[in-house]
């Protein structure tokens, strides 16, 4: 999960996010190399004692510094498109979870078999118990099974919100009257956090998303216990 002074991306918990991180690292490295080269060139140009009052030109260097950037861009575009199409791959989901944004909480619906529906409010800071994370933990979590393609349908009840869980590589707007779809697979069990990512009023910063991934056998127990509780 996120930590103070974090600079990079969170570790991946889904195959798509692993690919996104690799692509990010590849592209950032290219960007840093180009920036370093440009910076060095500017520095040497500005500090050199050499002078030449004549107009200089060279077909050779002009060719090189036209072709080389084009090749670099192709080197970036190919993995980019690969990941983009990978994110859109058809996978027949095993489960559908509906996420509805409200001011200022999320509600989750699991209606494939029975009608399980519950709200998820942030735990107020004054009510936290020692192991809980401030501004991240919620009273109920969105529970999903591991290693199963999950379809998430996102909408909102009032204003625009946005669901994001960075470690899963999920971000999708919650728009009233529209049902947005995204799919993900959670690679290993755990608890993963995200925050509302579209300004939605006074408590926009206080409506986090908590996803708990557990093995499928335990998922069935959880859904039975939730149905009994609610």
């Amino acid at each position: 999960m996120a930590y103070p002074l974090q600079l990079g991306l969170q570790d991946a918990t889904s195959p798509v996010m692993e690919e996104l991180i690799q692509f990010h690292d590849h592209t950032l490295m290219i960007a840093l190399l180009v920036s370093t080269m440009v910076f060095y060139t500017i520095l040497t140009s500005v500090t050199t004692k050499l002078t030449n009052k004549n107009m200089l030109d060279s077909q050779g260097i002009e060719t090189i510094w036209t072709i080389a950037p084009a090749l670099i861009l192709i080197l970036i575009a190919m993995p980019s498109l690969r990941v983009l199409y990978m994110m859109d791959e058809v996978n027949n989901p095993h489960l559908t979870v509906k996420t509805i944004g409200h001011q200022w909480y999320w509600s989750y619906e699991y209606t494939d078999y029975k009608n399980l529906e519950f709200d998820s409010y942030m735990i107020p800071t004054q009510d936290l118990i020692p192991r809980q994370f401030r501004l991240f933990d919620t009273d109920h979590r969105m529970v999903v099974p591991t290693d199963s393609p999950v379809r998430m349908l996102i909408t909102a009840d009032d204003v625009i919100h946005s669901t994001a869980v960075p470690t899963l590589g999920v971000k999708m707007d919650a728009i009233p009257g529209r049902l947005n779809q995204t799919t993900f697979v959670v690679s290993h069990p755990g608890v993963f956090y995200g925050q509302c990512s579209e300004i939605c009023g006074a408590n926009h910063s206080f409506m986090p998303i908590t996803v708990e991934a557990i093995p499928l056998i335990h998922f069935e127990d959880w859904s039975t216990s939730m149905l009994a509780k609610i």
Partner: protein
């Protein structure tokens, strides 16, 4: 035919991928299945036939459509 539908319904996990709605916006998918369920019910009831095939549409729209949307339509 009826046995196929029953087998399909028994093996139902969630709404399968619908090639008519391959993209991000699934609003129409929910609406189409809701409407198809009611059309199927009306058509088969008018003919006096078994309405079990319509169950498929009901399962799909229940999986896809937010409960608030379904309830608000019913109450209208």
């Amino acid at each position: 035919m009826a046995e196929d539908i029953k087998a399909k319904l028994e093996n139902y996990h969630t709404a399968p991928f619908d090639t008519r709605f391959p993209n991000q916006n699934q609003t129409k998918n929910c609406w189409v299945n809701y409407v198809d369920y009611h059309r199927c019910q009306n058509a088969l009831t008018a003919k006096g036939a078994d309405t079990t095939p319509c169950e498929w549409y009901r399962r799909v729209y229940t999986s896809l459509c937010p409960m608030a949307w379904i309830n608000s339509v019913i109450h209208e």
